[in-house]
């Protein structure tokens, strides 16, 4: 495992405003075709429900939360967001290969912290994000981006809450990054 810090002298990223326009158009096309927006956390939720159904089928059917997403005809994995998330992975890989960023597994972290510390905090951060995304009815993609883009009150609330909280908490975790 390569734990080297990966900094790119000249990151070959596309212009952020171009990225934004493309992303906005993609949201528009997605809503135009499917009537719904993009998403990401929903795919993890489906995975959780699917594993719960396999490991503890009784509890999964009794649990008031997971039972909503279980049906007798098909697997909980048979959802739009699972297929879309497979696409996210493939698209990320495609871009990474084209721009020369796809590598074997490595940890990216600030030189002030160890790779191990970064991994522990990544796990904790992910867990918090997962919990929050359930209460928020979506994450940055589904709620904040597509919710706001479709003028949904809930989307705007989640967007301001995520970024507002990020700025409030940033001070306390600055040693992780700068």
């Amino acid at each position: 495992m390569d734990t080297q810090v990966t900094n790119y002298a000249e990151p070959k990223y596309i212009n952020p405003y171009l990225g934004g326009v493309l992303l906005g158009l993609l949201v528009l096309v997605t809503v135009y075709i499917t009537g719904r927006g993009l998403g990401a956390s929903g795919a993890i939720k489906s995975t959780v429900v699917a594993t719960a159904e396999v490991i503890t089928p009784e509890q999964a059917k009794e649990n008031a939360y997971t039972s909503q997403f279980i049906s007798d005809d098909q697997s909980p994995m048979y959802t739009w967001l699972i297929f879309e998330s497979i696409g996210i992975f493939l698209g990320g890989l495609l871009s990474g290969v084209i721009f020369g960023r796809a590598k074997k597994f490595h940890v990216e972290h600030s030189p002030k912290i160890t790779a191990k510390k970064r991994l522990i905090f990544a796990l904790i951060g992910g867990a918090l994000f997962g919990i929050g995304s359930q209460f928020g009815r979506g994450c940055t993609s589904g709620a904040a981006l597509c919710g706001t883009a479709t003028y949904a009150l809930g989307g705007v609330i989640v967007m301001f809450a995520i970024f507002g909280a990020g700025y409030v908490f940033a001070y306390f975790f600055r040693k992780l990054w700068i």
Binding site: A64, S85, L94, L119, F121, F129, G130, G136, C139, L153
Partner: protein, 200 residues
């Protein structure tokens, strides 16, 4: 007239093919914009890299204005698109917890998938965290279901709540976004002078 699948113009059978194609475009844009790096992402909170703000707000404004045009030309029935439901306090709470997870973990779910794709082990841990967090959530759901379902207002838009037309919100977001793009340019320049840990 859109939405195409909702209105039966494209059959449901294509749904998952379209999902993969849209996902590929989404993942590509995220990665190409630099969102496969947690250090790029959190830069927005420390002032050394505002790429998140630029991409995110440009996208929101383009989609908001675009939807108005699609409606104006009669290409889409806005009454048929999905409006995220609003659960006031739970969503504020959820957003705050996500903000905390964001600054600790450095990714959000979608960006972590693209980072996993290019071999970031920290993103693998973040995604594993997502799984564990949601699994934990489902286990304690019986005890927190009351709060989770509280504050329900319905699938309401800003217009439903305020009575102000969507065009004003689009204009407002556009102006705020442009002001933020302009202002953060100077902040970024200043902050970058004092940071040596991160190469640009």
């Amino acid at each position: 007239m859109g939405p195409l699948i909702t209105n039966g113009i494209i059959s449901n059978g294509w749904d998952f093919v379209i999902a993969v194609v849209i996902g590929i475009a989404f993942g590509f844009i995220l990665e190409a914009s630099g969102f496969s790096s947690s250090r790029n992402i959190v830069g927005v909170f420390y002032g050394y890299n505002f790429v998140v703000l630029r991409v995110f707000f440009t996208a929101v404004v383009v989609a908001m204005v675009g939807l108005l045009y699609f409606d104006y030309f009669g290409w889409i029935e806005l009454s048929k698109i999905f409006i995220l439901p609003t659960y006031l306090t739970p969503m504020i709470f959820g957003g705050v917890v996500m903000g905390l997870g964001f600054i600790i973990g450095g990714f959000c779910p979608g960006t972590s998938f693209t980072a996993v794709a290019i071999g970031k082990l920290d993103a693998v841990f973040f995604a594993a965290g997502l799984y564990l967090g949601i699994a934990g959530f489902t286990l304690v759901y019986p005890y927190i279901g009351g709060f989770f379902n509280s504050g329900y207002i319905g699938n309401v838009t800003l217009t439903d709540v305020t009575g102000i037309s969507a065009a004003w919100f689009a204009a407002g977001f556009t102006i705020v976004a442009l002001a933020a793009f302009w202002g953060t340019m100077f902040i970024e320049k200043r902050v970058r002078k004092n940071i040596k840990e991160y190469k640009f």
